[in-house]
């Protein structure tokens, strides 16, 4: 494959250059920063108040305090992680800067590393204030999950990067015509990974699909923690194994799509 000759040559300096480029952009634009906080806050408040209402009328939800709000916060890590990755990539296309980047000595693996770092930066700007608001409004402390939160976060962010890498490949190959995938692809995971309900609710055959997606293990693990007060390390290890496969498949797909983009001549004019 034409892009593999670069694989062993990795420069932190070039990754830092790209991170700096995205940071300059983000820090120069308050609407971009506001956007990182706005929607997660709205979601958290809506689900939090719904949970308060349901808890007053149903014994189960009274016992399982925080399941909805925990779900929405973890879902946002998954969704915003991918969006943070994909938006940074899209910024290059909007700015018509992709040709400059692809013609520079920056390797694909360095480009992807910078996008992963930026997804964490963007996620942190959005999620840290929202998690503090959840404490203030509903007494729900995501940080009290401790080690479990680290395991949940690691698995969710890995999935979000895998999806982000695949979407970046699609954008390289198909231009901005594939932009809607960046915004909507993660919603396919919403029903299948059982964010708000247990896997057992799904039809039997669909449960196999659900268990092949790493976030399903995280959301089941979160419910086990909140309802049964048990941390299921086994679920996290299984999620990690599926994540490794997903990440490898997404990286391979990205390189194939990049190769195809070079063949189709879509790198220089990566417009519509």
């Amino acid at each position: 494959m034409s892009d593999t000759d670069s694989g062993l040559d990795f420069s932190l300096n070039r990754v830092a250059a790209m991170v700096r480029r995205y940071w300059y952009l983000l820090s120069s634009s308050w609407p971009r920063i506001l956007d990182l906080v706005y929607w997660p806050t709205v979601q958290m408040l809506m689900w939090g108040f719904l949970q308060l209402y349901v808890a007053q009328n149903a014994g189960f939800f009274a016992r399982a305090g925080g399941v909805f709000i925990g779900s929405v916060l973890l879902w946002d890590i998954l969704f915003r992680g991918q969006l943070g990755f994909s938006i940074s990539f899209l910024e290059e296309m909007y700015a018509r800067n992709l040709g400059n980047i692809m013609m520079s000595p920056l390797r694909p693996v360095e480009f992807i590393s910078a996008l992963m770092i930026m997804s964490i930066v963007r996620l942190s700007i959005g999620m840290v204030p929202v998690s503090l608001l959840a404490i203030a409004f509903f007494g729900f402390n995501l940080w009290s999950f401790g080690l479990a939160l680290a395991a949940f976060f690691a698995n969710l962010i890995l999935t979000s990067w895998s999806v982000g890498i695949f979407v970046a490949g699609l954008l390289l190959r198909n231009g901005l015509g594939a932009e809607s995938m960046a915004w909507t692809i993660m919603f396919l995971f919403l029903p299948l990974t059982c964010v708000y309900y247990p896997v057992a609710v799904l039809p039997h055959w669909l449960q196999y699909v659900a268990w092949s997606l790493p976030p399903t293990y995280v959301f089941e693990g979160m419910r086990a923690l909140l309802i049964d007060h048990v941390f299921r390390g086994d679920l996290m290890i299984e999620a990690l194994a599926f994540n490794m496969v997903l990440f490898a498949a997404a990286s391979l797909a990205f390189l194939k799509l990049l190769q195809s983009a070079r063949e189709q001549g879509s790198l220089l004019q990566a417009g519509e």
Partner: protein
């Protein structure tokens, strides 16, 4: 050392076919180190595709491109830090200031002493007062100078320019040409310039390759082309080629 190895750019039997169209149809040429060559042709002649293959952005369907001895795109990371380009098909991020953009690209290209290099280029290209202005707020001429600064950041040995003075007023375009000429002389850089602007090509280039429908129609010095076609300007030569008049007919 054979001719291919000693050339800064060696293009051999290069073909690029898309699904139904042939953009480049078996062209070959070699550019000597330190030379400046114009690539002329009408819209759809294959100039941009040729330059994109030289840059490694497009994979050839057949044939080979070697830049500074490296086969493109397979070995591009051996030489990308020694090349650069400017094209109307790409922009620098608009919200970033000129200094921020130049500093990011300088880091990507591994430039040492970035601040000094930016200061030097800003002085050379008359950008000092715009360095801290967002790139999107610059005029067309200022943007071109900023893009030119980006393309010279790493002191490239091979410089590829696609319509470098398009949309500039004659005075600014002339100013940009003089800076390009000065850079090439100072660094013995190999420059390949795709242009529609015949005055530009006549003034800058010591060799002209004329393309039409993906093929090379003619390839010579401007003086010999003018003599062969019996024309006073390259524009007339270009029109003869574009309209299918052979040099023998044109000379009559």
């Amino acid at each position: 050392m054979d001719a291919q190895a000693s050339s800064a750019i060696a293009v051999d039997s290069l073909v690029k076919r898309y699904k139904t169209a042939t953009a480049v149809d078996g062209i070959s040429f070699r550019l000597a180190p330190g030379s400046i060559t114009g690539l002329l042709g009408g819209n759809g002649a294959g100039k941009t595709t040729t330059i994109a293959m030289i840059m490694g952005l497009v994979t050839p369907t057949a044939g080979t491109v070697r830049v500074l001895g490296a086969e493109m795109p397979r070995e591009r990371y051996r030489v990308l830090h020694r090349m650069n380009f400017e094209s109307p098909y790409v922009d620098m991020p608009m919200r970033l200031s000129v200094r921020q953009n130049l500093s990011v690209f300088a880091q990507l290209y591994g430039v040492r002493d970035i601040d000094a290099r930016i200061a030097q280029l800003a002085a050379d290209l008359d950008l000092v007062e715009f360095l801290d202005r967002p790139t999107g707020k610059l005029s067309a001429g200022q943007k071109t100078r900023a893009s030119l600064a980006k393309s010279l950041l790493n002191r490239p040995e091979v410089l590829l320019l696609d319509e470098p003075t398009a949309s500039l007023d004659p005075d600014t375009a002339d100013w940009v040409r003089s800076r390009l000429e000065r850079y090439r002389r100072a660094h013995n850089a190999t420059v390949l310039l795709a242009s529609h602007n015949m005055t530009e090509v006549e003034r800058l280039c010591e060799r002209v390759i004329i393309m039409k429908r993906g093929r090379i129609e003619d390839d010579d010095t401007p003086e010999r082309l003018l003599a062969r076609y019996g024309r006073a300007t390259l524009e007339d030569v270009f029109l003869d080629v574009a309209r299918g008049r052979r040099h023998s007919e044109a000379a009559q």
